[in-house]
């Protein structure tokens, strides 16, 4: 009945750190509005998403509930990339030093944060190996073999693997870790035009994904000093967790940069040999972090139905002598929903219903169905909606379609609430002074020069996110040098 391992029952409760966690109350120790950082840290543990006690810093253990959420996100991503003609591959983890060092900018960007394998068994390796921090340097010498003619293009591949970066900053579950569950697509094109078309497709996929996960974001063209190592330009999708920014996806235009370093060429129709143009798209377990941070409240997670391991949990509220009948009624409900592909679970643990309610609220299940004597006799169910906490009575008769509508409405509300919060936290500032007490995203006129950008970062203790590509330009004066400009840029402080 449902997927095992999500109940606290046998397994999950032992994954929880503190024995005296307030499971009897719907309030967490840390409040989202008071200390979002500690609230976040508390919640990822409380909800059984990951365990941070593994004996190497920044390497966390995915627990069953967290891992299932990640897998459901991966499935969404796979479908979107399969549907747009990408094929999935899986490249080796280990990259030989000489391959890794072919593209100068790239090695400069990553060399300080790679793990090195230097020995096997008792013996030093002839050629040292890098744990992939990203897979350009693993893939591209193979691309130079695979691609021969214009007929091979475009070539669109992706993989979902773990990558490794030796983070020196404070680590944070799903957001800044050293082993990262990672998605990367790599495409090769005949010319700049087709590579630009791919960037548009990537932007479109990012939109669809943001929508599926109820995660509104602002797409920025990164400033030159913050683009990906080896890229011509980079786009980043940024959202807010509380008042801190989080990058949840990146899209890079490489043009011929890597193709020249790795010799990725094709024979064109006229017999000439040309370098390929390349793009990449990166996503990661940060999507889980974003879902936790954007949607969660002081009662726990709130999961978008698209990736909730259980979209509906049924809790029977039995009277002693009616226990069996009520549980049978609950099973009928289960069967009806399960048959229609809704991810549903019955909670038959030997716990008081109230405890079960808190559990499933903590775990962010969108809809909880309560069935007791009254519901059974009237052929109804009571539905508790996780985000609004309202309770609704539905007739059993048309339950499936009503539940589907509720799940759709749930997703829309979640998205809309997050969109509004994001919008309200973008502040246009006309001077550095104005920005000093503002949180969230700061928007301002910028001349576009790096010197002014760096100055802004210093004086406001922010990072420049770049130019918001879907916003209208606005005439004004650069808030540093005062030059007339139509460019607006955003900045913020990373979580």
């Amino acid at each position: 009945m449902g997927i095992p391992g999500y109940e606290f029952g046998t397994i999950m409760k032992k994954f929880l750190k503190a024995p005296n966690i307030p499971m009897q109350s719907d309030d967490m120790e840390h409040k989202k509005e008071e200390d979002i950082s500690e609230w976040y840290n508390e919640l990822v543990e409380l909800a059984g998403l990951c365990d941070k006690r593994y004996p190497v810093k920044g390497l966390n253990i995915w627990l069953p509930y967290g891992w299932k959420i990640m897998q459901l996100i991966d499935a969404k991503i796979r479908k979107m990339f399969d549907d747009t003609g990408h094929a999935e591959v899986c490249f080796p983890l280990l990259i030989p030093e000489n391959e890794f060092q072919k593209e100068a900018e790239h090695i400069k960007g990553f060399s300080a944060q790679v793990f090195w394998v230097t020995h096997a068994g008792e013996n030093p390796l002839d050629i040292k190996l890098v744990l992939r921090p990203t897979s350009e340097t693993a893939m591209y010498s193979m691309f130079s073999i695979w691609i021969r003619s214009h007929g091979d293009l475009p070539m669109k591949l992706y993989q979902i693997v773990n990558v490794f970066r030796y983070e020196t900053k404070q680590t944070r579950a799903f957001i800044r870790v050293r082993e990262i569950h990672f998605f990367e697509s790599h495409t090769c094109h005949a010319d700049a035009e087709d590579a630009e078309r791919q960037i548009k497709e990537n932007v479109w996929i990012m939109e669809k994904l943001g929508s599926a996960l109820c995660l509104p974001y602002i797409l920025h063209k990164r400033p030159d000093w913050d683009k990906f190592a080896g890229a011509v330009y980079s786009l980043g999708a940024d959202l807010l967790i509380g008042e801190k920014t989080l990058q949840i996806g990146t899209i890079h235009q490489y043009h011929e940069n890597f193709a020249r370093a790795y010799g990725i060429m094709y024979e064109d129709r006229d017999g000439s040999h040309k370098y390929c143009h390349q793009t990449t798209f990166g996503l990661s377990e940060r999507l889980v972090g974003a879902i936790v941070g954007v949607h969660g409240d002081n009662s726990g997670l709130i999961l978008p139905p698209s990736i909730a391991p259980y979209q509906v949990v049924i809790v029977p509220v039995p009277k002693k002598e009616l226990k069996e009948k009520i549980e049978n009624y609950a099973r009928q409900i289960y069967e009806a929903l399960n048959k229609e592909g809704i991810r549903v679970h019955i909670d038959l643990r030997d716990l008081r219903p109230g405890n079960k309610y808190y559990d499933w609220e903590l775990k962010g299940v969108p809809l909880r169905i309560e069935v007791g004597q009254k519901e059974m006799e009237e052929e109804k169910v009571t539905v508790a909606v996780r985000n609004t906490k309202e309770k609704i009575t539905l007739a059993k008769e048309k339950l499936v379609s009503d539940i589907k509508s509720l799940l759709d409405a749930f997703a829309s509300q979640l998205y809309e609430k997050a969109r509004k919060e994001l919008e309200e936290n973008v502040h246009f500032i006309n001077s550095i002074e104005e920005g000093k007490n503002k949180q969230g995203i700061l928007r301002f006129n910028w001349c576009g020069k790096e010197a002014c950008g760096i100055e802004i970062e210093k004086r406001l203790d922010v990072s420049v996110l770049g130019i918001p590509v879907n916003e209208k330009s606005k005439h004004g004066k650069c808030i540093i040098c005062g030059a007339e400009t139509d460019i607006i840029a955003d900045a913020g402080r990373a979580l």
Copy 2:
């Protein structure tokens, strides 16, 4: 229409090594009956399963078709373990040296074949890290935190990850590689009895999996000198590829060995503290190798329907003026099958039908549907069955149920053929002399002593696989020392 990237069309053909591969003939360069080793190597490349040209030995690239097969196998395995109450986790890749070295036998077994991470960025690490060769030593210190009381038991977890072993022998795609796609379940129990019950469950799952993949095998209790490092005993599932043996799954009973080393204890009902008993179950990408080697023939792969990326491929055979009509007819067939959950694909590439036939034979698609003018006019289809190469005419009317029956029959035939081949290649020998010219699996009476076992291995150049646990014992004399015994044992030569 279908999953992209499996056709040779745009992408796949460039993954092929040789430009002059005999795609016009249904014969491979190497014949299975003549040189199974070279036949296997040729086939994994020809069929686009993996690319072995990655610049580190023993690290291969999973190509889209091979990776999809692996993912379908993973999905089968996940379902079986979820259904038996296991929960999926994902542990970090990197294991600190001190954790790795807690269980003496285990470290002795693995230390010669682990990769060591010694540096991050420019700096040496304080504690060296091992790339997991298996995850006992990553998991068990966490188990000692998670498990507190008898109520936490049994705890049944699994993960699907890549593991790393520095193979010094000749590598072979899917069968002996240095980065291994790996399944591992780890269970903890209150006592030896419950751990034995788990072993039985594991044996039962192995049987179900072998049946789903049409892979009959012999289950052996490994001799003591070949059990897993740290185990009390090990069971191995062995099959034959040609006349060579291949281990496709292992089940280990640890009892308290690891629990003592890692302090995995629980409080029993009476307040006493006891060590857990543990078991593991390991599977790997060798399952792909076994499917290639056991079922394939000189025309290519033959895939069990349960894990075939396409169970049915439709090839329209168009006459010029009827092209559109015939393709529409093909689409109707596609829709009917797709709607019923059959993995089906239409091949609309601009190639001659004959070339398409060879392609899909090479890729092992169980059923190929040909539709031309005749089929369209008579509301029929022609079905070519991959394993028998027979052609069958089916009426469109009851196509779905007929195709389902054909797929079921296909799977049964595949299993039965392999079972018969395995059975025919088990040879009972009464003396060392008798074994000298025999291939396949050699079965003999054995006194059970290690010295005699080692002597058999030396004199026949075989490995002792162990005692076939589902075979009846047989009275006789040990073929080395002549002692009376009821034990029979098997031996063979590994691929």
